[in-house]
Amino acid sequence: MSEAHAGPLAHHFRDLDQQKEAASLGMWVFIAQEILFFGGLFATYAIYRHLYYDAFSAGSHHLSWKLGFYNTLVLIGSSFTMAMGVHSAATGRRRAITGWILATVLLGGVFLGVKYFEYSEKIAPCFGEGPHAGCLVPGARFDAGALHLDGAPAREVQIYYSLYFAMTGLHALHMIIGIPILLFIARNGWTGRYTPAWHTPVELVGLYWHFVDIIWIFLFPLLYLIGHR
């Protein structure tokens, strides 16, 4: 690797390739940690679903699988636009970087908008607001009457909704953190900061965004599609 390429090479790296590999490896170690961060919730989910299958099925039936399906396509689409953003950086198309990343932000925003609608439908009734009935936030105000339980104990369904809010909430939080970072990258892309030789920040935020997409790929069938037959 020649030193001629523009790019901020830190003095403790031999060349840009080594620097890029170190940064990428660091991001992957962070993602491995994130797998286990979400893993605790997935393990909890697996055990409680095993113990209270009927309750989880009843809880899942009350979610709109169509909204979950729609949001899955939106998020996969945002992963595609993100991959194209990284591709634009690698091929040195400055304006395309910004365009694809803004498209990613837009799709992420659509996802969160749908999520907001889904949440408010379940939370607003707890405060006597909104057009819908049936508070689905676990706790004293949880309204099991809104669900068709088929005999499943109400408090077991509350465990399902606890996990629903914890898992989708933690996932949404990751997206909310990701969007400002994407906007920062979009701006720097526009000003020509990234070159085919050095565009590590675009790649790293891409890894983060794809990871968040993978979490949703598991959340959708596990939360929305239990016992739909």
Binding site: L51, S79, P221, R229
Partner: protein, 100 residues
């Protein structure tokens, strides 16, 4: 200078379309009764989708072996967490759930 692998945009588009088809498939499979296999099918589709994202969108297919090792370590510890906790719950008859 090591080789910088630039994946064609057609690969990304292809992966995106496969992911869409698999999303439709997971909804379709959930609507049919495969008995105990419904969960297995849903997980198999999700794992396939995740693998495609990791290999192509996240470039692990074109990355150093060290990256593959880190990814594998993350997955291995996740499996340890789920399998060992799960086997404890299954084999010890706990918790004893009160009715209602």
């Amino acid at each position: 200078m090591s080789e910088h692998h630039v994946v064609s945009w057609k690969v990304y588009l292809g992966i995106f379309l496969i992911l869409c088809v698999l999303t439709v498939a997971t909804v379709g499979a959930a609507g049919r009764d495969f008995g105990a296999f419904n969960t297995a099918i849903a997980l198999a589709i999700a794992v396939t989708k995740a693998t495609l994202v990791v290999l192509f969108f996240m470039h692990v297919k074109y990355s150093p072996r060290l990256t593959t090792l880190v990814v594998s370590a993350g997955i291995a510890f996740l499996l340890l967490l789920i399998i060992f906790t799960g086997s404890d719950y299954i084999s010890r008859g706990w918790p004893i759930t009160p009715a209602g």
